[in-house]
Symmetry: C2
Subunit: 343 residues, 2 copies
Amino acid sequence: MTENRRDEFGLISYLTGRQKVPTALGERITVGNGDDAAIVAGRTGYEWIACCDTMVEDVHFKRQTMLPSDIGHKALASNISDVAAMGGIPLFYLVSLGLPHTWNEEEIAEIYDGMATLALRYNMALIGGDTVAVPGPLTLTVTVLGEVEQDHGLLRGNARPGDAVFLTGTVGDSGAGLDILLQEQWGVANVPVEWMSLANRHRLPEPDVKAGRLLATSGIRIALNDISDGLASEAWEIAEASNVRLVLEEAAIPLSAPVLRYADMSGNCALDWAFYGGEDYRLVGCVSAEYKESISQAFAEKELPLYWIGEVQAGSPEVRIHWQSGKSTTLPKKGYNHFNGER
Amino acid sequence: MTENRRDEFGLISYLTGRQKVPTALGERITVGNGDDAAIVAGRTGYEWIACCDTMVEDVHFKRQTMLPSDIGHKALASNISDVAAMGGIPLFYLVSLGLPHTWNEEEIAEIYDGMATLALRYNMALIGGDTVAVPGPLTLTVTVLGEVEQDHGLLRGNARPGDAVFLTGTVGDSGAGLDILLQEQWGVANVPVEWMSLANRHRLPEPDVKAGRLLATSGIRIALNDISDGLASEAWEIAEASNVRLVLEEAAIPLSAPVLRYADMSGNCALDWAFYGGEDYRLVGCVSAEYKESISQAFAEKELPLYWIGEVQAGSPEVRIHWQSGKSTTLPKKGYNHFNGER
């Protein structure tokens, strides 16, 4: 620890004190932060969702690409997105922070503030965690607990031949945003106004909890996955878990105007970011084609975006792409690696 | 990743496949490993317990002091101990592993095997996690979910004047064990048979879940804390959370025969390890003195150790020690720092 940092206990209570507990959640917290463990109450008719995810400096983010508050935001957002992909409601989170001495107390507080701001928007409460000084890169592990109605979880293995494939938003924005943030002349501090929206999609992604809830409460069998590693990799996960073939239409893949403009300007292919860029945190799913209209209508009523991008066929697990040229090819299963090119 | 390591997905499924799911728990797991998140069922009349803890190479362990399987064991054990300190039943765990390229696949598998072996003994199941390559020390974050009967959590703030203070086992063994493992001529591979039991108390601690359950189901108001940072630090936490003074009797602090022998041999003070050594994972607690006999009897019937070590008085938060010499002094609040002396 550097001299301008408190001891572990002081630091933890300083950091955890920065988070307000939403009123609605307070009565479900029997024991919050500050004891050996937290105790929280369940709800009749609901099951618990649990997930955890780690972000590491220079693997998942660099100082050049993310502000400290962005790091906190994204670490929590990626877990909320996993809960959204199960159709659930995020409730509680625990934070384990491995801190190198090169980060000062103000920056650490900003990491926690990034989480707290997002958490409050989703009515979530911080209930525990751990802070430890590490002789290495900053490492942030977030665990999220949520809940979903019994038997309503939306699993990757739910896709069937005859399903239609949907997406809850445009993809590729975060990948393009990372490319922008990695430009030496820009970085997080100097992104031109024109590309700010793309950079923000990388820095401050919003998980699709509302879309997940709409799908979970529909009572329809739906396969669902969140896009953390690119559309190709996540579609492959559904194909393999469901033992089906997904056929996507190139013409139907939703690309935002800024992504197309930035791809043009920088000589990149926007679809590469859509398929193999990561951290868009949109949901990709499959549902029987007979429900296309009713689901489209439900999304429209809530003013949530929805795009139909392909269909599910019987066959060995595969993701195929039907190009506008008329050709069809297998979409490579490769995923997303932040700073080292393809995985 | 080194070449003898699989890619992330291959590695995760290889590692998580090493853990058997206890039959009794299987039907409570709606979704286990392999989807975006796990879904598990609660039980009527119970609340959930959640905690997480991080272990970092060269901060919490060294290659010299711990085998890979020990690291897995202890990371899980420290969380189980937090559940025990709430009087709860540990059920599920999630693992986030930050892996430097200097660890090979066999060693990583041993870390998971260390967790799996301990988990099976406590009827726990692995339900999720994350593996990421890191340019730094090995970092292992374990989250444990457990349950406890509604309103039966044993909190640090439950102590009252007139309570008796108890310990569920000897303390100082782990601290002495670490001292042994740090001797250059020994290390984890060559500890003399005579000191093996102490080294094992450091490498493979057993959390006191049975004791915690016995106390939680007694229906009596009890303050409880697990000893991860030394008796002094944990007793101080109870004193501060309960706003009382704890007065401990030096003569009553239980020290094992090996600790006393090794302290003699090495010129150390056994009580220093008891007060300021860490990771004994015994429970320290306070309960109204009128229950001393009935609790002693209940522990004896289950063949669980129990020691009465002092009393709780009204007064500003403090931990005092009544020495055999007749003198009383404040016990310093300092805790445990693995390799850098006192905190």
